[in-house]
Structure formats: C-alpha cells, structure tokens
C-alpha cells in the first residue's frame, strides 16, 4: 500500500489548537479580573467628596482626631501642643465610613453629645454600644429584612454560643464600616470578596482571632485541603454558603454552624437544587431573569457552578435529538430485520 500524505485532518486540529492558543492569549491579556488578584484592595472605596454629605462638617469635629492615627491638643495652660497616638480601634477611616450604610449619620446620632467636649468625660467609657436590633428591630421600614429573625439565628450560631455576649453583631458588621453588597452590587466577585473578608478579618488574622479565644488560629488553607480547586472555590463562593444553616426565607443566613456541620457534600452546590441559588445567586439570578428573561438570565449570568443543569431548554433540545437518534436506529433496524 502506498502511503500518501495524510496530514489534512491533522492540519485541522493543528490550526484549531493554534487559533485557540492565539485567541486565549489575546483574551487572557485583555481579561479584566484574574482570580488570583481579586483581593479586598481592589474594592477598597475611592476617596469620597465630603461636601455631598449633610453631616460631614459636623462629623469632622470627631474625624479631626479619630480620622487619623495621631491627635494633637493644647495643654490646659496653652503653653504647648501635645501629639499622641490614637488607639487603633478608635481610628475611623472617612473613606470607608462615607460609603458605609450609615454614611448619612451624625456621630452623635449613636454616640453621646458629651463627646463634643475634650477631654471626653471619663464616664463615657461606660457608654453602651447599640446593637443592630436596637435601631432596626421592630421598625416597619426594616421589617422585610427580618432583623428579629436574624438575631435569633445569630443567637443560635456557633459564634454567639461559643463566645457568649462578647460576640456581637459588631464583630462582623462594624456600624462605621459595613455596607450592603449582595443586593446592591452587580459585580458578584466583589460581593464574594467583600463578604469573605469579613470572615477573614478574624479567621485570617491572628490578632483579631485571639481577641475572643486563646486557641491558635487554624490554617484556613490546610483546613480546606480536601476542597478541590481551592482558589476557584474561595474566590467564587462565600464562606457563609457552607458554614451557615441555609435559610431560604432570610436574605442572608446568620446561623453559623460548628465546623463539623459545615457543608462538605459537593452535590449541595453542584446540583439542580444548589444551595447557591437560595443565597449567593438569589439577587443576581432574579434580577437577570427580570431584565433578560428566563433563558438568557440563567444562561448569561455570572453564576457558574459546574455540573447542575441550569438551562432546561438545552436539556429538552438534547433529549429530543437523542430520542430522534434512537428512533432512527429502531426504525432502521426494524426495516433491516424485515427485509
């Protein structure tokens, strides 16, 4: 047998691979947000224009000292200026405060008016700090967010049970800094990073972790060694999806469970009834569906989980094609047997 040139089909593959490599290189270089570099720094708020805020001038009286790491005052006999370091936990970043949920607040809305005098009266150290429920509880305006239910979930959580009253809402939701993301931010990656940084603020930082415990801070990466594609999971899924008891009626689940009860089954997310659709993708999917329609909303969203069949239309099409193939085979075979 004469062996002629047989490169033609192989060329198809070689050209295909070459084109794929070129397209990949071009697209990868113009890719906006590589996973590895998606850190909290990227979503740090930009400098804000203070003139837009009604209470900014009033608040500056506080920020003048508490907005920086050092503060200065004149001695009582006005003989010299003394500069001292501000305690780290008393330093508030204006840029973070003015993009937070409470950006329109006056400092004295929550803190005593007596802070207007300096030195601050000593008894103010005993001032009780308001919890979320103090303002948001029993208020019709916030009824849909079910703060009371959130509180009961939080009280049943591992955070509250293990640390008693030391662990308050403030641990995760510092009223000076916290801002809503999931409902307002269309960039899912930013929401995930922001929410995960809340957990990592303690679980990734030994200084904060040991404020409430004497235990050594566990190594997060080691603890999650069993999880395949760690980078992908950490940047695409919030910690709370696996570490809270999912509650579909709540906007965000607050019942943090002990580590032994955390989700470990792949099917919990990688299935048609993925828990992610009840929490993480809840807003994105419903908004996309509203804007783009059911098919496009589900297909074109940034809600990738490998495995679950999100698009029923494609499933129906594939079943029809498969059914027609089988029918063709059966009819053909029947005619062959009949001949």
């Amino acid at each position: 047998m004469v062996y002629k040139t047989n490169l033609r089909p192989a060329w198809v593959v070689m050209v295909l691979v070459l084109l794929s490599a070129l397209a990949f290189t071009w697209l990868k270089t113009s890719d906006s947000a590589p996973l590895e570099t998606s850190t909290a720094e990227e979503i740090k708020p930009v400098k804000v224009d203070l003139s837009k805020f009604t209470n900014a001038v009033e608040n500056e009286k506080c920020f003048r000292c508490h907005g920086q790491t050092k503060y200065s005052y004149m001695t009582s006999d006005s003989s010299k200026t003394v500069t001292k370091r501000m305690y780290t936990e008393l330093v508030m970043d204006r840029d973070i405060f003015y993009v937070s949920n409470h950006r329109e607040f006056k400092c004295t809305d929550c803190h005593s008016e007596d802070y207007g005098t300096f030195p601050h009266p000593n008894e103010l150290r005993m001032e009780a700090i308001a919890t979320c429920i103090d303002c948001h509880g029993g208020d019709e305006k916030y009824a849909k967010f079910q703060f009371e239910k959130i509180e009961s979930e939080f009280l049943a959580s591992a955070h509250s049970e293990k640390h008693s009253e030391d662990f308050t809402c403030w641990m995760c939701h510092d009223a000076h800094e916290y801002r809503i993301n999931a409902r307002t931010n269309e960039n899912l990656k930013e929401t995930i990073t922001y929410d995960n940084m809340i957990c990592l603020n303690c679980h990734g930082d030994v200084r904060n972790y040991q404020l409430l415990t004497t235990k050594a801070k566990p190594n997060i990466l080691q603890k999650h060694e069993w999880l395949p594609n760690q980078v992908s999971h950490f940047t695409n899924v919030r910690c709370i999806e696996c570490h809270t008891r999912n509650n579909d009626t709540l906007e965000v689940a607050h019942h943090v469970v002990p580590k032994e009860e955390a989700v470990r089954k792949c099917e919990s997310c990688h299935s048609k009834n993925s828990i992610l659709y009840a929490s993480l993708y809840k807003y994105q999917v419903s908004e996309k569906i509203e804007k783009e329609g059911l098919v496009k909303g589900l297909l074109l969203g940034d809600t990738t989980t490998i495995g679950p069949d999100k698009n029923n239309t494609l499933n129906i099409i594939s079943l029809v094609i498969f059914g027609m193939t089988l029918l063709f085979i059966i009819i053909h075979a029947a005619f062959r047997m009949k001949k």
Partner: protein, 207 residues
Amino acid sequence: MTKHSERLYLYPVWVRIWHMTNAILCLILIITGLSIQFSNPSTVVKFNAAVAVHNISGIILSISYLVFFFGNLVTPNGFHYVIPVKGFLNRLLRQFRYYTIGIFRREQPPFPVTEESKFNPLQQVTYVLLMYVLVPFVIISGWGLLYPEITISGILGLSGLDMTDLLHITAGFGISIIMCVHVYFCTIGKTPTSNFRSMIDGYHESH
C-alpha cells in the same frame, strides 16, 4: 473497483488497543459526565466520585488521543482519514442512498471495504468530524474546566467558564450521539457481530 478478499487484516494491534481504550474511556466519560450534568443528592454515582473518575478518564483520553493523532501521522492508518475532495459529494450521496434505501433492497454496498479504503465516504466524514474536531474540542474545553483559573473569565460579556462548560457538554453530547450511531452501524456487517469481532482479531470479513 478494487477486488477485495474475504478476510482483510485492517486493524493493526495499536489501532485495536487504542480503539478499545477509547471506547471504554468514552463510556466512562459519558456515564460520569451525565452524573455531573444531572448531579443530584440521589444520583447513583456521587458528584465527587463522578468528578474524580471523569477527570482521570479525561486525562487518559488526552494521552490516548495523542497516541491516535501521532499514530495516524506516522503510520498508513492516517491515510483512511484523508477525504478526497473530487466527487466527494456524489460519493457521500451514494452511500447515504445505500443506508436509507439500498440496504433494504439487499443491494451491494457502493464502497466495499478494501485495504486502501476501510471507511466509506459517510464514515470518513463522521470520523474526521469526531476525531479531528469534536474530540479536540472536548479535550481542550475539559482541560479548561479542570483548571478553571486558566480559563478566560469573560468573553463578549458572557461568562468564560459558562461558555467553556457549554462547549464541553455540547461536544460531549455530539460524541455520545455519534457513538450510539457508530455502535448500531457496526451491526451492518457480514453478520451483526462480525464488525465487533474485527476490532478484537483485526480481520475484517466482507459482505
């Protein structure tokens, strides 16, 4: 037309080993692929087990494909995948007519199997489409899903990972359909089982 003998040695050992490996891997990949695609807590093959088996089988399939690809470059077997352009459409239609009409009238196949041409025109097109388009697609997209961090995160406003996933399952579905038809058409031989025997002993029995 070339005169053909009763028994032709068409399938050398490497082709039979590759074919058997490929067949087993495809079956495993289809079963585990469906388990992943329709993942559910009650699925028989559990998601993590299905993913592990699917990944390992996919890696072996990639190696097996390289054996096929380079084997076809350096041995005469690759010649069977070269489609002569001249008169091709006409030959394709003749073969199609045979499968849809002629076969039921006990007509002789228009392109009997010979040592120079073991595939009829319809087989040639299907196998080239399968082995040089769909399988490379499924392998490349499979590696993209295996290492999602190397996959483009977005393309034309669409999720890159979603598109890779869609490409992978579409190519996988195409391969599954071709495989079903391939197995059925293999029953069109001297006897319904003779073509299956050919892939074991290497000898093709003519009609």
